[in-house]
Symmetry: C2
Subunit: 833 residues, 2 copies
Amino acid sequence: PTCPVPVPPEKLLARLLAEPASLDPKAIQKMIAHHTKFTLGRTRFNFDTLCAFLALAHSVRDQIIHSWNATQAKITNSGTKRVYYMSMEYLIGRSLRNMIYNMGILGPVRKAVEGLEQKLEDLYEKERDAALGNGGLGRLAACFMDSLATLDYPVWGYGVRYTYGMFEQQIRDGDQSEFPDYWLTWGNPWEIERLDVNYAVGFYGKVVITGVDDRGKKKKAWIPFEKAYAVAYDVPVPGYNTSTCLNVRLWSAKPSREFDLGLFSQGDYFGAIAERQKSENITSVLYPADHTWQGKELRLRQEFFFSSATIQDIIRRFKRAKKPWSEFSENVAIHLNDTHPALAIVEFMRILVDGEDLAFEEAWEITKKSFAYTNHTVLPEALEKWPLELISNVLPRHLELIFEINWAFLEHGVSKVFPGDVERRRCVSLIEEGFGRMVRMAHVAIVGSYSVNGVAAIHSDIIKADLFRSFHELSPEKFTNVTNGVTPRRWLLECNEGLAKLYETWLSTNDWVTNMSILRRLEEDLSNPDLFEEWESVKRENKVRLAKYIEQVCGIEVNIDSIFDVHIKRIHEYKRQLLNILSVIDRYDQIKRMSLPDRKKVQPRTIIFAGKAAPGYLMAKRVIKLINSVAEVVNQDQDVGDLLKVIFIPNYNVSVAELIIPASDLSQHISTAGKEASGTSNMKFAMNGCLIIGTMDGANVEICKAIGEENIFIFGTRAEDVGRKRDELRRGEIPRSARLSRVFSLINKGSFGPPEIFIPILDSISREQDEYIIGVDYPDYMEAQARVDATYADRERWTKMSILSSVRSGDFSSDRSVKEYAEKIWKVKRLTP
Amino acid sequence: PTCPVPVPPEKLLARLLAEPASLDPKAIQKMIAHHTKFTLGRTRFNFDTLCAFLALAHSVRDQIIHSWNATQAKITNSGTKRVYYMSMEYLIGRSLRNMIYNMGILGPVRKAVEGLEQKLEDLYEKERDAALGNGGLGRLAACFMDSLATLDYPVWGYGVRYTYGMFEQQIRDGDQSEFPDYWLTWGNPWEIERLDVNYAVGFYGKVVITGVDDRGKKKKAWIPFEKAYAVAYDVPVPGYNTSTCLNVRLWSAKPSREFDLGLFSQGDYFGAIAERQKSENITSVLYPADHTWQGKELRLRQEFFFSSATIQDIIRRFKRAKKPWSEFSENVAIHLNDTHPALAIVEFMRILVDGEDLAFEEAWEITKKSFAYTNHTVLPEALEKWPLELISNVLPRHLELIFEINWAFLEHGVSKVFPGDVERRRCVSLIEEGFGRMVRMAHVAIVGSYSVNGVAAIHSDIIKADLFRSFHELSPEKFTNVTNGVTPRRWLLECNEGLAKLYETWLSTNDWVTNMSILRRLEEDLSNPDLFEEWESVKRENKVRLAKYIEQVCGIEVNIDSIFDVHIKRIHEYKRQLLNILSVIDRYDQIKRMSLPDRKKVQPRTIIFAGKAAPGYLMAKRVIKLINSVAEVVNQDQDVGDLLKVIFIPNYNVSVAELIIPASDLSQHISTAGKEASGTSNMKFAMNGCLIIGTMDGANVEICKAIGEENIFIFGTRAEDVGRKRDELRRGEIPRSARLSRVFSLINKGSFGPPEIFIPILDSISREQDEYIIGVDYPDYMEAQARVDATYADRERWTKMSILSSVRSGDFSSDRSVKEYAEKIWKVKRLTP
């Protein structure tokens, strides 16, 4: 792309561009009217709530653009080291409220909107969640961007602009149905299309030799057969209470001329329109199904597209500063949020070696000092591997470089330290040998990075001791831990207005929003009954709000006095929603068999599930079906009444979570120990004064330590014992509990509909193959649930636990996490705001 | 869609919305800066020409929105009769310059832009032609909208927003290559997305009986199997020197939920994304290739989509006024620009009968008083027919209604007037019988309309006497003629600044822009040599400008003193580009065989072709190949030098036409007589003082009459003689001219490359099948061309002819055409501006 000459600052245009916008309600009203008329082309005859939302969003965006421009100029002019955070997902949720809070313009905006006879809350509701993420990794990236902006770190996010994002979940006959999430169909006011920022990204083709360098080494060039254009869409991220406004740059695929030529010259004009779509498909959906070869190829193309566009953009920016390559790593850190963007390492090498004429060794030294990698999973099936044949076809030059990197690593890195250790070489090689060789992307990421971290203490320990043990033995200094965090702006200040107000009143300050340790001062008031009363009333209001929503979307009335017992996250076997629903059947069975007087003593519960199953993950979809089948029976059972209700809230997303979390009494984080990396939502629940029932897994371990084990319901096998227990189970040494057997027989006899569909579920936890040791943990889990009931009966104790959970969770602010990243890993300094 | 309650005018928002925008240069500069910063998210570091264009376009659009809103309110409030003009095409071209001229803000805009150190003309060049049309019909619609707005008629245009429009033509190795025209990829500032205006359009499915009406007739309903949403995009059309701003509403297809359901519930999520694209494909391209069944179906879906959305929108607006259905035709006229939207008649009937519970007969009476139809072609292959089977599948209810309409027409309309005339019934039936029955869309349009017109006098005569003779005998009062016109704003004032200035100076007024008859005053100055000198200098400057463009895109230098001999229009056999290029070969051959002194006497010529061939029209593509092959040889021949050059300007569109027409000395309109409906570009050439060589076809006949036959080069067989000549040729009674035979032999011996590809061309004008009688007209054409050469040598005579062509072409302003439509056909009154 050509770079226009900047307009000199003394010129008229520069002066006009520098004019700041005004922030008072009248000015905001004028802007709303302006956007209604000119941007949306509407009149007073069709000024509806959607129009008001869009006009307000555009007005807020106008305000943001000032600080955004200023921040970008500041980063560039300061010449400071910058960080590029590459993430395949940003689970942003809605933005309007967040923007208004962070910019501190809630007062004037509310006044402006009310002056136009609209309700601000109605306008919030018109916004669609951005469909740019799937789970924890994506939400983490969004929390991090908020904290990084709030703490004035010079960081840019990079990602992909998915046209249809993840799917929209609907429940039909108890089954999950997937619909495209047309989140962009009606426009997205938060993105700024940057048509002037675009890069060609190649695919397929061949490698040619272009010459020989000084030292006699062949110089090569990749001639791609196909090209697509990556066009940038910038999403501003304003920090809280600071003028800093960071940027997330998302890439969208557009077809390129060169690409089309081949087909068009054969005269297949209409076929070529379809080819255009092929090119746009690169950024159609997040995580395209990869059980077919075509699907795998699409996913590889998507990841490379993301990696290549980002690296080209980073390099272009670096080269503008006219510094030598040797200074790259002092100026730039590139962070890989999981392995999806790991091809960036190889693409960076390719451009340095083939494009910038650096020697391979020199380029590799620069690379290894510039990249850092966060691992997010220990599940073997979630560790990305690409068939060699596929990479060879789609990215022939990159495969050559992977081989070259592997050779250098094994010869210089491994053999020198552990000479003759063939087994170790096999184990750490970037290439997995065997029938159908594979490239291990985690190994590429580890070898190409100077830092590898897990996302919770126990997870980082498992990485070092188990998953990447050989690598840890080779370079222990690379490995570190940074426990995840969540932003208290979205997850407390904004989503729990009542609690935020309580904190403001009791602490006489709002400083806790950026300094969560302040909350602990409230421990001094733990004997004050007023605090308890207010606390309970906040929770109750939140529960009332959620109950309204449940009635609206599920048509079920729930008991506000029941324990709101929440299990919301992706539906996955290791997260053990199955353990939960089996225990619900158990509870239901118990109640059914009770005498009427006994029933009076039962602690009422509302069990709330929400979460999506991957479209191709049949077992997870069966669990959804089981939950809904149980709900169908239980919710209509007159014997049970409001002692037990089972709710499945469809289409779990950030906005739904913001509604559920503040209203939860209890939340379940009951993964098989050792499987969950962090399970970061536990932090959100703790912050909102919700008690946790959980295993010693992921961040539960650290939360338990922070809030005190007396304030959390821990149960189940510890990570180090899981393997042994699984063996014992297999050998028949652990009998199935009688109550679980009874649950099985209830399902089998058709109490929750035709049992055939549930047989694979029950089989999956049979003695032979109970991978997630549900059978083992069942009795302990039931016992912990009994403790929950007993504790809840003692309202004072419960409320105290709730208060302590919240005030002691300050360390789980993502502000703490990003500070650790900045100081331990990236070595970057904060901007002066 | 829900209708929001309008904001009362006394409220704050209404007041803010009513604020007018300012028009002085400083205000425009502020707006440009505003859009640069906020709409485009740019800074002074990337303010390039594209950015300046987009920012200016948005600023101009802001100005337009005022008059647009005011006009719409005025039409609604006045309760006047309104016209809806339905056209499958709007060949708009670029808009920025047109908007600025029509709004009369050229002065302040130029000042504003120059103050920001940009050149207005550079900004114009950044705009892409809107790819919403193909040929004359589409350009006519665009000219009409300009005239209708200028004359303050209460008319709305309706059309389709094609994502890729027509193709972009490139010439590779002399062949036409087609590329998608990504005209929307970088955004379109002239459209206003109306997300609040959308309609479901159904396809496929079944017809169910829902009950019985008062008179015992079955009531029916169509249950479509598939639905797509039509979303409105409004394009404002400001009139010249008036505050009136009309609207063209274009429909874009978006997928609907209901539509997706079927597939999604089967769990085929990713397949369903493809289905979404199927739905969006409805508005992907203009005139999808229809040689396959799938292509036919797509085209039918596209036409119905357009028809249904438009009729739903018209009906919704009519019903808001709460008038009885019997008053519909007093309030509304719906114009069909060719048969593409003829399904609107049937959809209108369906909604009236099935949806509004009107009796069939009542509905049919209303329909017949509301629709009017313009025929644009007499070519049998261009008259739309749909296989019965296809309509039965895609639009089952509509087929039933077509049968019912046909029955009513044949029984009541035909048999009462011509009882027992079975042949006539067969001939006018909406259904073409035979193997593979077809629905004749022209017959649907004629039977359902109160007015049928042709687009030039001779064309309307042929319709009455030949094409629709039986219909004319049934209802002669329906048939009329309105000769096409072209807007003098775009086609003189804007594209020929020199000539416009000359007129302003010599007439001391600019009133001619809306009253072209004023131009004839210049005939008084025909003896003034100053006028001649100025006239020639204007032409020369235009030729210099075109020569620069030719050098830039074709790399060929042309002789400014040569006759610029132009043949620009769609490549089609009946338009006889072949006749032209054969004569060029002849001319080349003559020059080659001349002595050097003789060559000195040759009148130099530059033959300029431009035009697109339909992607599937192989014969037309071969003609392009022949033209380029001849050019290749001729342009490099030293013997010929600049005595003859052959130029094919690629990617013919409105903007290219605006460059070529003012620079032309001679233009060719040489269709086989009786084939061309109007060939409206002849009017543009005449207006710009370009002489015409042509047959007595289309509007040539009227142009000849208006400017005097001494000022035009007419040749060739008259329409009434073509059939006879064709027969004589077939019987061998017309020998091929010796010169044409020589041309054939030159091609056959490979003078212009391997002759194999040209054999089908030569075969097509062999004695047996010379459908377009090229062989018959050849000698006369050569003779006319010789007259051209001789006349051009007499510069005074030529210039006089040129002046007279221009000043006498006032009747071919589209202002005259639309007045006739308004008065003769639509019976609508002008708004008070």
